[in-house]
Each structure stands twice: as structure tokens, then as C-alpha cells.
């Protein structure tokens, strides 16, 4: 059994693996299991010019953009459900031309991570035939040619090389993604980096396996023996993980199934303050730069609010939580 201990603190992990201009992907979906502690630490360390890959991470993407960390974005969906039908800082940045964005569909993004994880240059799908997602590029030919980490074209339509086999005349080829680093927040991990995601894994596993480096943050650090009692319930092998950080509430203010719900108070306040640049600067100062680390932010939120979002043992979320 490997015994390497990858346990570290978040400041060190972000400093070591997330660099100015790096290609980054983060796990989670809309308002669930985004690696928010890591997102806030990236903002605190003022790491900029990030090339970000996501399918539908709402809150994490919006905060990284709001924090001025993102230069380019490849994405399927920027929304946080009812809290922001379009992510607010994302929308402002795209309309102001301060970030470049290239659109895909969710399945295309999942397959792109899958292709990266498999070590093949592309995978086929029928999604997107006849649409502007195939026709319109967010990144120019020139930009692609100048960046060895980008494929020379966005999506390619190919005739089915097997003729009528599969009853599909054409397919869209989606290029693989190879992030420099993927950051996930998971429910359980051990010090080596074996991880167990509870509830929906979204595309987290493909995202991790497609990356060169992987940072895991976890709500609970558990003994390896315990995870190895049921290996079929684990999704990420320690062999692909570079850093493990134990951070209770590491997905806060997004949800972590069976641990805590999203915090509607925080998300609503964020939504309000994100609407103009002045109040957003105050938000950043008060909640992110003004707190030393994630425990600092949680202390500011207070035990009472954290208690309200505790997951109910039966349902895995905070039952009857006031979400208005």
C-alpha cells in the first residue's frame, strides 16, 4: 500500500499548483460542491490570467471572474439556478469585453474532459449539429495557433466513417481538455488522496483524470482503511492526486450533499452586491480579502447560519430551509 502523505494546507496547495496564466478546471455544478474555499484562496492570492474550464459551475466561476482571476473561459453554462439565472459578474465581464469566452454544451464539455482523461485527442457526439456552438468560435484561429495548449479549431463535423453503421450520418468531434490543474471538493478523502464523492459526481471524475495536477479539498479526512472497506464507492484513486486539504465546509456557500446545504442568505447577498462594481468591491473586501482564510470567512458567517444549513440525515439537505 502506498503511504505517501499529501496532506497540506490550502494556502500552500494553491501557491504551489495554481499559477498566473495556468489552465484550471474546478468541479461541482451550479450551487453544489464547488471548491469554494480554494476559489476564495485563489482570489486572496490574486492569481490572474487564468484559462478556466467548466461545464456548469455557477458560483465558483462567477467568483473567480469577479475576483479578476480569469482571462479566458470555456464553458457550457454560467448560471446559479434561481439565485442568478445568468451569473452576474460573468455577464458583466463578457458584456464589457474583459474576458474571452467560448461556448460549448454540457455534454460536449463532459466528453472533452473524458477525452483528456482517456488520452485521446477527441471524442464524437451528435450534440450541436446545425448550431452556432459548432459554427461560432470564441477564440480566434490566431489565438489558437499561438497557444500550444489550445487545439487549432473549436469543433469539427465529420461524416460517419463507418457509413450507415449506427444510423448516424455525421458526428461532431470535441477536442480533449488537459488542464494544468483540477480542483475538486469532495465529501471524504484520505491523506493519500483517494476520494469518495457522495450523491452526484457531476463531471468531477473526468475533470480530475484529465488534469496534470489535482488538488482535493475534503469535508472529512478519513482513515484509508475505512475508504478501502468499500473501494467500489470511491471514484478518485490517490495515484492521480497531488494535494489533499482538509477543510470542513470547503464548498460553502454552495452545498455538499449529506453534509450541508447551500446558504440562501449568502447567495442572495452575493447576488445583490454583485450587481454593481462599487458594492462588489465592498463584497470582495469584506468577505474575501478581509478574511484570512476559509475558517475566517466561516467565523464571520457564524455558527447560527451554519447550523441552519446542516444536512438532514434522511434527505442529505437542510429540510424546510427557508430559501426565499
Amino acid at each position: 500500500m502506498a503511504t505517501s502523505d499529501k496532506l497540506t494546507d490550502l494556502r500552500t496547495a494553491i501557491h504551489e499548483f495554481v499559477h498566473e496564466g495556468c489552465h484550471l478546471s474546478i468541479g461541482g455544478f451550479t450551487i453544489n460542491r464547488n471548491p469554494m474555499a480554494a476559489v476564495y484562496e485563489i482570489i486572496r492570492q490574486r492569481i490572474g490570467r487564468i484559462h478556466l474550464y467548466a461545464h456548469s459551475n455557477g458560483q465558483g466561476v462567477d467568483e473567480l471572474i469577479g475576483g479578476g482571476c480569469v482571462e479566458n473561459l470555456e464553458i457550457a453554462y454560467a448560471g446559479s439556478g434561481r439565485f442568478a439565472s445568468t451569473c452576474i459578474r460573468f455577464r458583466k465581464a463578457v458584456e464589457a469585453g474583459t474576458i474571452r469566452v467560448e461556448d460549448y454544451s454540457n455534454y460536449q464539455m463532459s466528453l472533452r474532459f473524458q477525452a483528456g482523461a482517456m488520452g485521446v485527442p477527441f471524442l464524437p457526439t451528435r450534440s450541436g449539429l446545425g448550431t452556432d456552438i459548432v459554427r461560432r468560435w470564441g477564440f480566434s484561429k490566431k489565438m489558437r495557433e499561438n497557444d500550444p495548449r489550445l487545439p487549432d479549431s473549436k469543433l469539427t463535423v465529420m461524416e460517419n466513417p463507418f457509413g450507415e453503421w449506427g444510423d448516424v450520418p455525421k458526428v461532431v468531434l470535441v477536442p480533449a481538455i488537459h488542464p494544468d490543474v483540477t480542483i475538486l471538493h469532495v465529501q471524504k478523502a484520505d491523506v493519500q488522496g483517494t476520494a469518495r464523492i457522495e450523491g452526484l459526481p457531476f463531471s468531477d471524475v473526468e475533470q480530475a483524470l484529465s488534469a496534470e495536477k489535482v488538488i482535493l479539498t475534503c469535508d472529512e479526512l478519513v482513515e484509508s482503511e475505512r475508504l478501502r472497506e468499500y473501494p467500489e464507492q470511491n471514484q478518485i484513486p490517490h495515484l492521480r492526486v497531488d494535494a489533499v486539504v482538509h477543510i470542513p465546509y470547503g464548498a460553502y456557500p454552495t452545498a455538499c450533499y449529506r453534509y450541508y446545504d447551500y446558504d440562501p442568505v449568502y447567495l442572495a447577498r452575493f447576488g445583490k452586491m454583485a450587481k454593481d462594481d462599487q458594492s462588489y468591491a465592498e463584497y470582495l473586501q469584506e468577505y474575501i480579502y478581509g478574511t484570512e482564510n476559509h475558517p475566517g470567512l466561516l467565523a464571520k458567517i457564524g455558527e447560527e447560519r451554519l447550523k441552519r444549513i446542516q444536512a438532514d440525515a434522511r434527505t442529505g439537505y437542510a429540510k424546510d430551509l427557508d430559501r426565499r
Binding site: I31, S105, S110, G130
Partner: protein, 255 residues
């Protein structure tokens, strides 16, 4: 007569179209309400399915996003996005799926824009993007579309085609390589629109109580056949109590 809101009428109008045996793909917001209501109204044996990978979600409480933990509780299977989209791309299962979508713009053939208004590179208004909408619209045999009925939304030409409808008419989906089938109806705050079997163009299927075909046409940027329009029944007391008491007691979506 019981009073009801536009959103209640819209949710009920869509819920009535869902049948037993349908696998209902729903997005955020009113489409979840429609899918939840359908299980109590017309289709107790329909199955709710999310792109995030939750299959046959139980939805004791209304989720506020498709990634909400509320879609995970009590599901038959929780897998990931790859499995959810493969389920729809695979014709064995995909043909059973009815997708419920929304958009910022729709054209006469039911193609949708949920990406950007204005230039794509430097849009006047940026929307969230496809999410799973393009995938669903590419794969499944029926889609129901929620739209606000106004001139900004019902346009002759989209600024950006995010999700394929009938493209430019009969045979276009097959030529492009998409699944047969496509948009079935558009549920708006005024009316329900259908798509002609032959021409694939949008027509007026029915108006809500108090709405005339003229009012509908005034709020569209293209012409539509109104000769087949029938009145749509208002929500019944039963339908309303299902929506209000069982689906959205906090009025998170109903407002």
C-alpha cells in the same frame, strides 16, 4: 372562479402534456414545477430526470438548480453528466425523453437562443449559454419550450442558434444528422403554440382565457397561423392546489 397567476397557468399547461411513461428532462425553474405537477396530475408514472445524472428523482422539495442536493435524494441512480447525456443520445432511451427548455429567443422553427443578444464576441446581453439544452434538443424526440411572449423573444432570425429546433424546415434535422423529432409546443404567458406537421412552422394552438389571437400576434416578430386556435382551460382547483401546496409551498418559483 379561482384566481391564478400566469406562471400557474404556464406550469399547468405544460404539465398536462406529460404522459405516463415519459422520461422528463427538466431544467431550472418553471420546468421543474411542470414536471413535479405532472406526476400528480396527468402522469403519475412519468419519471423525472436531470442532466446532472439524477435518474427518477423524488423531489420532496423543489430544487432551485439542477445541481441542488434535492435532486439527489431518493433517486434510483445518481451518476454523472456523461451517463445522463448518453441516456438521451442513445435512441433506445432517448426516444422516451421529453425535454423541457427555456430560452431568450425563439424563431418560427423552434430554434432557441440562450447564449447572447447582439454580437457573439461582444454581446449586448449575455445569457448563461447552452448548459444541457443543445444536447437535449439534439437528441430527444419531443421538447416543450417555455417562453415569455414578446417581440424581443419571438424573432424571425436568432442572434445565435444555441439549441436546434426544426432548423429551417422539413427534413432539415435529418440532413444535419440530428435525431428525428423536435419541438412540440411552446408554452408562453399568453398561449400555447404548436408546430405544423408539414411545414414545421409555429402556429397558434390555443389561447389562455381572456387572450385573443390578435393579442398573441401583436407580441410576435413573425406571422403564425391562428386558424386552429382553441381556448385553453384555466387551471382547475385541483391543479392549483397541487402546484401551491405540494410543489411550491414557499412560492420559490411561483413568486
Amino acid at each position: 372562479m379561482t384566481r391564478y397567476s400566469e406562471k400557474e397557468m404556464m406550469a399547468v399547461a405544460a404539465a398536462r402534456e406529460i404522459r405516463n411513461g415519459d422520461v422528463v428532462f427538466c431544467g431550472t425553474g418553471i420546468s421543474m414545477l411542470a414536471a413535479m405537477a405532472a406526476k400528480h396530475i396527468s402522469a403519475p408514472d412519468s419519471v423525472i430526470f436531470f442532466e446532472t445524472g439524477a435518474m427518477d428523482a423524488q423531489l420532496e422539495e423543489l430544487p432551485l438548480a439542477v445541481g441542488d442536493s434535492r435532486v439527489m435524494y431518493g433517486a434510483a441512480v445518481n451518476r454523472g453528466l456523461s451517463d445522463a447525456f448518453a441516456f438521451m443520445q442513445n435512441p433506445f432511451s432517448g426516444r422516451r425523453v421529453v425535454g423541457i427548455l427555456g430560452a431568450a429567443q425563439i424563431d418560427p422553427y423552434g430554434n432557441l437562443n440562450s447564449t447572447a443578444i447582439g454580437d457573439y464576441e461582444r454581446p449586448r446581453v449575455r445569457f448563461p449559454g447552452s448548459g444541457g439544452a443543445c444536447d437535449v434538443a439534439s437528441f430527444v424526440s419531443r421538447t416543450i419550450i417555455f417562453m415569455r411572449h414578446d417581440l424581443r423573444g419571438f424573432v424571425p432570425r436568432l442572434d445565435y442558434l444555441t439549441s436546434p429546433g426544426w432548423l429551417d424546415g422539413p427534413g432539415a434535422r435529418e440532413r444535419a444528422g440530428l435525431s428525428p423529432g423536435g419541438p412540440e409546443m411552446v408554452v408562453t404567458d399568453l398561449a400555447v403554440m404548436g408546430f405544423d406537421k408539414e411545414t414545421k412552422r409555429m402556429f397558434l394552438r390555443g389561447c389562455y382565457p381572456g387572450v385573443t389571437p390578435e393579442m398573441v400576434l401583436e407580441r410576435m416578430g413573425f406571422d403564425a397561423d391562428v386558424s386552429r386556435a382553441k381556448e385553453i382551460f384555466p387551471p382547475s382547483a385541483d391543479e392549483l392546489s397541487i402546484l401551491r401546496e405540494r410543489c411550491d409551498p414557499q412560492r420559490l418559483i411561483l413568486g
